[in-house]
């Protein structure tokens, strides 16, 4: 009996040998052969490929993607088959990211195949998958994705987002299960906002197959009431199958085209139902949905409005009082200006009078002194004529007194100056000055000399 060592070198030597001659078979063996393994492998592949194409279902395990193919095992409790799918074909399925993962229920179509390997590559058996469909929850997700894409293509994910949402609605409609916790959560959220308006409940089943039509109808009914300004649709967490009512096409189309904004809070934040996509707002909990329905914190808003009222009052007072003060100031200004001018004029008049009086006094003193000197000289020289001369002298004194400018002015004469304080005593001086001021006993007037001589 000849034995081949199964080492690379041995294989190599064997191939060389095979090329030269087929080795002898096992002595006494009832089986045909020996045949070259490559030929057998190719035959095996051909035989497997002749087997009927079938569909299998099971659970995906060990999913991994290579450059050209995607591999996984399809398992159930009884057994497993290794599966391979061309990567191009897999991507053409358009499965949402993460939809196919270990544990996913799938249906695959295809048949057994055998890769015969080569001198450098290991052979492998696999079920060649030509078609694949998600089943179970994965199937729901896939259906959901198809519907989501269809609604998006029709532009139905947008209309709700474009609706104006009131900052302070007076009346909020709510669609939810009658006995659910969502109801309490919504009330808690509204209370947290300090909101105490009107809530209209439209109770509906939220998880069986009657749910979607009932929810649709409740939404339509609420929207038909004019005073309802927005609607919250709320349901607590559940399995995707439970929440599937909220992925109903008719329901989602109704929401998309509803006249009032819909705030959806369905399931927990990890669940994404289709109503979350078409609604104006999607919230993770019913409490958040309620807070989102009333964006304003009512107590804060009251404070803000009071503050605004206070500011308006302040501005009114300020505007009126400031302007009254300004007006009063303006009204006083002309009178003050006139008074100031009058004071200046009086001052000038006093100065002119004082100046005239001073000069008169000096003249009088000088004249008196001269008169006394003359008197003395006259008395010494004239003797008996003294009395007569004294009488004449007294007359001169009276005449001088009569020339006191103040007296003169009081009698109807006027003192003329050049407005600079220089008294003008001649027509020539007046002509030179041209602009003169005439001081009468009561006041001064400005005058212009028109006489050019």
């Amino acid at each position: 009996m000849r034995r081949h060592r199964l080492c690379p070198t041995g294989l190599y030597l064997g191939v060389i040998a095979e090329q030269r001659a087929r080795p002898e078979g096992i002595e006494g063996s009832p089986h045909a052969g020996p045949f070259p393994v490559g030929a057998y492998a190719a035959k095996l592949r051909d035989e497997l490929r002749k087997r009927a194409r079938v569909q299998l279902f099971g659970e995906v395990f060990g999913l991994r993607a290579g450059r050209a193919r995607v591999w996984f095992e399809l398992r159930d409790t009884e057994g497993a088959v290794p599966c391979a799918m061309w990567r191009d074909a897999f991507e053409e399925l358009g499965l949402p990211d993460g939809a196919l993962a270990d544990g996913s229920q799938v249906v695959v179509a295809g048949g057994p195949d055998y890769y015969p390997g080569s001198r450098t590559a290991s052979p492998s058996f696999s079920f060649a998958v030509s078609g694949l469909r998600l089943a179970g929850e994965g199937d729901l997700l896939a259906q959901l994705e198809v519907l989501r894409k269809a609604l998006a293509a029709e532009g139905l994910l947008e209309p709700q987002k474009r609706l104006a949402r009131p900052a302070l609605p007076r009346c909020i409609g709510v669609v939810t299960g009658e006995g659910g916790k969502a109801r309490d959560d919504i009330l808690a959220g509204l209370r947290r906002r300090g909101w105490a308006g009107r809530v209209v409940w439209a109770f509906a089943p939220v998880q069986d197959r009657h749910a979607a039509p009932a929810i649709t109808s409740a939404l339509q009914d609420l929207a038909s009431v004019r005073e309802v300004e927005l609607v919250i649709v709320a349901r607590g967490g559940g399995s995707l199958a439970d929440l599937f009512a909220f992925c109903d096409e008719t329901l989602c189309r109704t929401v998309a085209l509803l006249r009032v904004p819909v705030i959806a809070s369905v399931g927990h934040h990890t669940d994404r139902t289709l109503i979350d996509d078409v609604a104006a707002v999607s919230c993770s909990t019913p409490t958040h949905a309620a807070e989102s329905a009333v964006p304003l914190h009512c107590a804060e808003a009251r404070t803000a409005v009071q503050s605004a009222a206070g500011r308006l009052a302040l501005h009114t007072r300020r505007a009126v009082l400031d302007r009254v003060r300004h007006l009063a100031h303006l009204s006083r200004a002309p009178a003050e200006h006139v008074a100031r001018e009058r004071r200046a004029l009086h001052q000038k008049l006093r100065e002119v009078r004082a100046s005239a009086t001073r000069r008169g006094r000096e003249e009088r003193t000088a004249t008196g002194a001269r008169a006394q000197a003359l008197g003395r000289r006259a008395a010494a020289a004239a003797g008996p004529e003294l009395a007569a001369r004294r009488t004449a002298l007294d007359g001169f004194t009276l005449a001088l007194a009569a020339h006191d400018p103040e007296r003169v002015v009081e009698r109807g004469y006027a003192v003329v100056d050049d407005r600079q304080g220089h008294v003008l005593t001649s027509a020539e001086a007046a002509r030179r000055a041209r602009e003169v001021r005439l001081y009468f006993a009561d006041a001064a007037v400005d005058a212009t000399i028109e006489d050019d001589g």
Binding site: R170, G197, R198, V199, V200, W201, F203, R311, L312, H315
Partner: protein, 71 residues
């Protein structure tokens, strides 16, 4: 509703604009008085809206509301 056209958010936005204008000190007397008059109207509207949602939460079932509206 007091005013179908008026919304709370529009009223508060206008009120803020009015106060900003008044705070700027650029408005003349006539404008100031007109702005204040408009602002008072808005304050009254906002206070009314807040009053309407401050009287106590009222819960109604849809059928009750419909019945009430039909009366």
């Amino acid at each position: 509703m007091a005013d179908q056209q008026q919304t709370y958010e529009a009223a508060t936005a206008r009120l803020e604009a009015i106060i900003k204008r008044l705070d700027s000190g650029e408005a003349g007397l006539r404008e100031t008085l007109e702005l204040v008059r408009e602002g008072r109207g808005l304050v009254e509207f906002c206070a009314g809206e807040l009053e309407a949602v401050g009287q106590g939460l009222e819960e109604l079932r849809l059928d009750e509301l419909v019945a009430r509206l039909e009366q």
